[in-house]
Point group: C2
Chain length 679, copies 2
C-alpha cells in the first residue's frame, strides 16, 4: 500500500495517487480532471466545488474515512459565511487530500460540461467557449522596473493561467488603469482565444471577482425571420430567446427579389445591410432586457444564415449569388470584431463568428445543420433535409458527405396554396380522410380536439378554421392519395370517380372540400388541382435533390432521414413519404432534428471544438450543384408522380395502402407541369 | 569550363551558374539576389529591370558576349513600346541567360533598397515594408468546385507569391467581387504582413496592375508640434512633409498642464484625444493633397510620441503619468487598425504602428531616437541626448544601454528667459563675446551677416533684433563665461568687476547687455542673473541625468555624444560643453542626429526589421528613474557650477580657456538654486 492517498474522481472515473496535503483542485489538474476555477485557487469564485463521499466503496476498492479531506480552513469558512456552500460541498482549492477519497465533480463545476439538449437533438453539446473569465492578481507598478499596466496584466495571465501573448484594443487599454486600481490590483478579465490561432485578446476587465456572468448570442438569420438565443457562455444555458421578422422583407419577400432590388437600385445593398444589422442590434438589446443583464456582458456572437443573408450582413453586394456560377465573395468561416457588423449595445469589443458557407446556394445555415446533425460521424447513411424555401440536403456517413440545395419554392410553407396560410391559430395542421366515407377530420393549431370530437365547433369558434398550414397541406395531399381521391399522376378525381360530393368541379379540374365555414362567415377550405401541382413541384425538387446525392453516392436507399428546420419538426414522416417528398425508409428511422441551424449556431457559440469541426466538415463536404447536374431534370420529372413514377417504396407499403386509381380521361395530361407552372 | 553560364550580379557581387535559358528574375531568386517584382514575372510591372554589361571583366574573370542575354521577346517589346524602357535596361523576367553575364541591379529594382539619408543620420535605412503589392491572377469561380472569390484570391497569393493564410475585413470583401471582374481576374493586392506574426491581411485590391503607388505616414507627435512625412512605401522616399501646432496647446502649454486639465475636467481626456486625432487626420489629408495622391493610398502609419501624447492619442486618461509611480497603461509597441485612431480619409483598412514606450517618462519618441542612433550597435560608449522640455538620455554601447529622462524645463527653448523667444527670424542664434573688449557680435536667424559686418543694420531692419532663441542663450551664457563676465558659480559680474558698462546693475544683481534696439523702437536684449539661473537649472538637470547613467555604467567619460532633436541640430557643441550641459568629450565626437525621432518613425514605417529592432532594443534597455535615484540630487547640485563643481573638462580645456573669476561679494550666495527657484 502506498503512503500516497488514492483519489478517485466521479463521474469521470479518473484516479491516481497524490502527495498528502495536495488540494483537490491541484489533484484534479494533475490527473487531468475537468474542474473549473476562475479565481485560480483563491477561494473566492467557488467554481471548483466538489462533493466528497465517505465510507466503503467496493466498486472503487477504497474506504474513505471522515478525515480524508482536511478540515475547513479560514478561507472556506469565510466563503461559507458570506455566500453559503451547498450541504456536503467543499471548495476544491481549499480542501486538502489526507487519505483515500472519492470526489464527485458536479456538472456546474466542469468547464467542459455537457449541455443537455432537447430530445430532438442528436448529440450533446460540450462547453469549450472561446471567451473565458480569469481572475488575476497583477503586480503593482514599480519605478525601478517600469512596464505598462497592460504588460503586467499579461504577465499575470501568463504566470497564473498560462494564457500567453494577449493583446487588447485601445478602448480596453483606456479602461484598464482605473479598473486595476479600483480592484486593488485584483481583476477579472474576459479573454477571447478562439480556434484560429489568432493572438488571445482581452475583451473586458472588471475590478475584483466578476460574478455577473458572460454571454453570447447565437443568431439564426433567416430570410423571413431572425431568431437569437442569449446564451450563458459559462453554462451553455439559454437565458432568453427571441425572434423578429427580417425587416428586409419590405425590399422583397424572397431572396431573389432582394437580389433584384440590389441590382436595380444602386446602393441598395447598403440599405439592406443597414436594416438587417439594426434588427440584430434591436434583438440583442431586447434579449439583454428580457434576461435582465447589461448588454455589455454580451462578448460573442455566432451567426448562421444562407449565402445571400451572409453577404448582406457583411455588407457585400449579393448580385453574384443571383446568377451562375453563383460565386460567393467569401466562403470560409469569419472571425471579426462584432463592431464590424454594428451589433449595437453589446460589448464594444465583442467578437463575431460567422460559420462557413458550403457553396453559393448552400449557406452557413446548412453548415450549422451539418454541425448539429453530424452526418460525417454517422455509421449509417444519413439524409438530412432542412426544408424551407430552398431545401438544403446533406447525404453521407463517416466515409463521405455530399450536399446540395434544391429550389422547392414556398409551397411547403403554405404559400401559393389556395387555402394556404402561415402556421397560426386556426390553421389546419393535421388531417385524416376516411378511406370509406372519404370524409375528413382535422385539427387546427391551438386546439387539441379533432374536428369530429364533441365540443370542437364551440372550441374553434374563437379562432375559426382559417386555412391550411404547410404541414397540413402535406397531410391533406397524402391522405387524399391514400383515400383514393388523388391518382398517382396527381389528378383529383370527380365526384363520380371518387363517390364523394366533396370532390367538386372547378372548371375542367376538381377540388376536394375539407371544411365549409361559410355558414359561420368563414372560408370554404379546399385542396384544388392547382394546389396539388404546386406541392408536386416542390416535392419533386426536394426528392430529385436527394436522389441526385444518392446517385453520387451510388446508394438506392438511405438508413436514416433527419428533417431539420422548424417546419421539419411538424412534418409527419408517413405523409411526407406517401407524398414522395423523401425517399423510402423505415418510418421510425425518420426523425426531426428540430431547429438544427439554431442548434448549430449555439454549438459554434459555445465551443471552439465545434468551430474546428464545422470548418473541417464543410471543407470535406462534396458540393453538388443541382442547376448543372444532367440527371436532375430526369429525377425531377420522375418524382412528379405521387409517390414516384419508378422508385418503389417497400418500407412505406408495409404500413400504408396506396389505391391504384387513375382519373385521367384524356382531357388533362398527367404530369402537366410545364403547362401549369403558374399553379 | 561548365556548360552552365556564370551570372554575376552587381552591386551585391552574388554569383553562380544557372541553366541556359533561365530568366534573370529566376536566376536572381536562385542566387538570393534582391530583385523586385510586383507582377510575378508577367512583364507588366517593370520592377525587375536590370542593366547587362558586355565585354571583358578582368575583375570578375568573365567575358560577356553580345548574345549573353536572349533577344527582346514580344512581351518586352510591348512593354517598351507602351511605357518605354530606359536605354540599356532589360526586363529581368523576360531576358533569358544564354552565356556568362554581368548584371547590374539598379537601386530602384531592389525591394530592400537602402534609402540615402541626410549626412546627419548615422545609419542607412533599408526598405522592408510591412505592406507590399502583389499582382495575381485569380482562378475564376467554378460551380463544380464552389469556393469564395476571396478563397481563390488567397490561393493565388499562396501559389504565386508564397503569401499564405491571408485574411481581410468585411469592407475589403465587399469590394472584392467587383474589382476581380473589372480586372478580368487579374488584380493587384496590398498585403500587410508585419513583424508580429499576425495573420497577413489584404488591405486593398485594385483591378489589373496597380501603378498608383503605396504610401505611409511617419508621424512625430510632439507636445508642441506635430510633424508628419508622407513616405513612399516602395522606395522610402519622402513625398511631402508638413507640421502643425498641436491643438492640445489650448488645454495647456506643457504636458503636465494637460494632465491637470484632464484631472480637473472629467471627460477632458476625450476632448484632448479628439482634437489630436482630428489634427492628424487634417495633416494626412493635407499631405496627400500636397503630394497629389489619393489619401486611400495611405495604408500605414507609424507614430512616435512622448508617453502623455501616446496615451492621449490612444484615448487613455494620462493621469497616472502625472504622479509616481508614473505607470503607463501600456508600454509595448502596438499594431492596430488606423481606424482605431480615427485618422480620417486615409485607407479605411490602413494599419497603425505605435513604437514602444521605454518608461513612464521616456516615450516612444525616445525609442525612435534609439532606433535612429542605435547605441546598442555601437562599439564606443555613446551618449544620446534628445533635448526638449524633457530631455531623454540614452547611454550605452553593444554591451548594454541605459535610459532616463530629466526634467530640464523649457529654458533651452527660450522660455523663462527674459529676452527669450522661439526660433524665428530676428532671433539671435549665434553670439561671440570678445574676451578683451567684452563686446558681443551676433547673428540672427534669417541673415548670414554678423552684427559687426558692414550692412548688417540695414539688412536686419526688416525683422529687427527681436530676442534670443534657445541655441542663442546657450552660446550667450557660455561666451559670458569664457569672456570672464560670469563666474563658475553663475554670478554675473558688475561693471567694475568686469570692466564693461554692458554689465548693468539690476537691483542687487547684474545683467549683460547684448543689443540695445531702443533707438529703433526695438527691445534691449540682455542676459539677466535670472536667465543664468534658469539655464543653470536646465543644464544641471540634463548633466545630472547623463552623469547618473554614467555612474550606472561605471563610466567617467563617454566616447561620443549625439544630440538629437531639432534643437540639438543647432546647438554648438563647444558652447554646450562650456556651459556644462554635456560631459567632456573631444569636440569632434559631438554630433547631431537631426530629427532622430522623426527618422526613427520613418524607419519603423518602412521596415519590419526596424520594428523588431526597436522592440528588442527597448526591452533590453535598463531604465533609470531620476526621481528616485539617490545620487541625482547630488549630481544636480554639483552640475550647477559652470561648467561643473567637481568634474574636470580636460578635452574642452584643450580648446578653450575658462577665466578663474569670482564675483561673490558675500551679498549673493553662489549656487543659490533653492532661494531663486522661481528664477
Amino acid at each position: 500500500m502506498s503512503d500516497q492517498p488514492l483519489v478517485i474522481f466521479t463521474p469521470s472515473g479518473k484516479r491516481g495517487r497524490v502527495a498528502p496535503g495536495t488540494t483537490v483542485l491541484a489533484a484534479a489538474r494533475q490527473l487531468g480532471v475537468d474542474l473549473d476555477s476562475v479565481c485560480g485557487g483563491r477561494g473566492i469564485c467557488s467554481k471548483c466545488q466538489i462533493t466528497p463521499s465517505f465510507g466503503e466503496f467496493a466498486k472503487h476498492g477504497v474506504t474513505v474515512r471522515e478525515d480524508a479531506l482536511s478540515d475547513w480552513n479560514k478561507v472556506e469558512q469565510r466563503y461559507d459565511d458570506k455566500r453559503g456552500l451547498p450541504k456536503g460541498r467543499r471548495l476544491g482549492c481549499q480542501a486538502c487530500i489526507q487519505g483515500d477519497v472519492v470526489l464527485d465533480v458536479p456538472p456546474e463545476s466542469q468547464v467542459h460540461r455537457q449541455v443537455i439538449r432537447k430530445s430532438a437533438d442528436t448529440r450533446p453539446m460540450v462547453m469549450d467557449p472561446a471567451t473565458r473569465l480569469y481572475f488575476v492578481e497583477v503586480e503593482e507598478p514599480d519605478m525601478h522596473e517600469p512596464s505598462g499596466d497592460f504588460e503586467r496584466l499579461a504577465q499575470a495571465l501568463s504566470d497564473q493561467w498560462e494564457v500567453t501573448g494577449v493583446t487588447a484594443d485601445p478602448s480596453l487599454l483606456a479602461r484598464l488603469q482605473g479598473v486595476l486600481r479600483k480592484g486593488n490590483w485584483q481583476v477579472t478579465v474576459a479573454v477571447h482565444k478562439d480556434h484560429t490561432g489568432a493572438v488571445p485578446r482581452v475583451l473586458e476587465v472588471w475590478p475584483g471577482l466578476h460574478e455577473g456572468g458572460l454571454y453570447g448570442l447565437a443568431i439564426d438569420l433567416g430570410s423571413t425571420t431572425i431568431a437569437a438565443h442569449l446564451t450563458d457562455l459559462e453554462t451553455g444555458e439559454v437565458k432568453a430567446s427571441s425572434g423578429l421578422m427580417n425587416p428586409q422583407i419590405r425590399f422583397g419577400e424572397d431572396l431573389m427579389s432582394r437580389v433584384s432590388y440590389v441590382m436595380m437600385n444602386p446602393g441598395g445593398e447598403v440599405e439592406l445591410t443597414q436594416v438587417v444589422r439594426a434588427a440584430l442590434a434591436d434583438l440583442a438589446r431586447a434579449l439583454a432586457g428580457e434576461a435582465g443583464i447589461d448588454p455589455a456582458l454580451i462578448v460573442e456572437a455566432a451567426v448562421v444564415c444562407n449565402p445571400v443573408m451572409h453577404h448582406l450582413l457583411l455588407g457585400i453586394d449579393p448580385t453574384e449569388l443571383g446568377q451562375a456560377p453563383f460565386a460567393l465573395a467569401v466562403s470560409e468561416a469569419l472571425s471579426m470584431p462584432a463592431s464590424d457588423l454594428d451589433l449595437g449595445t453589446i460589448n464594444p469589443r465583442a467578437r463575431a463568428y460567422l460559420l462557413p458557407c458550403i457553396a453559393g446556394h448552400v449557406g452557413a445555415d446548412a453548415a450549422a445543420v451539418s454541425l448539429a446533425t453530424a452526418p460525417e460521424m454517422s455509421d449509417e447513411l444519413m439524409l438530412v433535409i432542412d426544408v424551407g424555401t430552398n431545401a438544403e440536403i446533406l447525404l453521407g456517413d463517416k466515409t463521405r458527405v455530399l450536399a446540395c440545395s434544391s429550389p422547392t419554392g414556398p409551397a411547403f410553407e403554405g404559400a401559393q396554396i389556395s387555402s394556404g396560410q402561415r402556421a397560426a391559430p386556426g390553421a389546419i395542421e393535421r388531417i385524416e380522410i376516411d378511406p370509406v366515407t372519404k370524409d375528413p377530420r382535422f385539427r387546427v393549431i391551438g386546439l387539441d380536439l379533432w374536428s369530429d370530437d364533441p365540443g370542437f365547433a364551440q372550441a374553434v369558434a374563437q379562432t375559426g378554421v382559417t386555412g391550411i398550414c404547410g404541414s397540413g397541406i402535406i397531410e391533406a395531399v397524402a391522405e387524399m392519395r391514400m383515400a383514393g381521391l388523388l391518382d398517382p399522376s396527381g389528378l383529383i378525381g370527380s365526384a363520380e370517380q371518387t363517390g364523394t360530393p366533396r370532390c367538386e368541379a372547378e372548371g375542367r379540374t376538381h377540388a376536394y372540400l375539407i371544411h365549409d365555414g361559410s355558414a359561420e362567415g368563414g372560408p370554404r377550405i379546399t385542396v384544388t388541382q392547382g394546389d396539388i401541382r404546386a406541392i408536386q413541384l416542390a416535392k419533386s425538387a426536394l426528392y430529385a435533390g436527394a436522389r441526385l446525392l444518392m446517385d453520387e453516392r451510388g446508394a438506392d436507399r438511405v438508413d436514416r432521414i433527419v428533417l431539420a428546420g422548424a417546419f421539419g419538426a411538424h412534418i409527419s414522416p408517413k405523409h411526407a413519404m406517401v407524398l414522395g417528398m423523401i425517399p423510402d425508409a423505415p418510418l421510425d428511422h425518420v426523425t426531426s432534428a428540430g431547429n438544427a441551424a439554431g442548434t448549430g449556431a449555439r454549438m459554434a457559440l459555445c465551443s471552439n471544438a465545434a468551430r474546428v469541426q464545422v470548418e473541417k466538415g464543410v471543407r470535406e463536404i462534396t458540393k453538388i450543384e443541382t442547376a448543372i447536374a444532367p440527371k436532375f431534370q430526369e429525377h425531377f420529372v420522375n418524382a412528379n408522380a405521387i409517390p414516384h413514377k419508378v422508385d418503389t417504396f417497400p418500407e412505406l407499403l408495409q404500413v400504408v395502402t396506396l389505391p391504384d386509381v387513375s382519373f385521367n380521361t384524356g382531357g388533362d395530361k398527367p404530369g402537366g407541369r410545364r403547362r401549369r407552372r403558374g399553379g
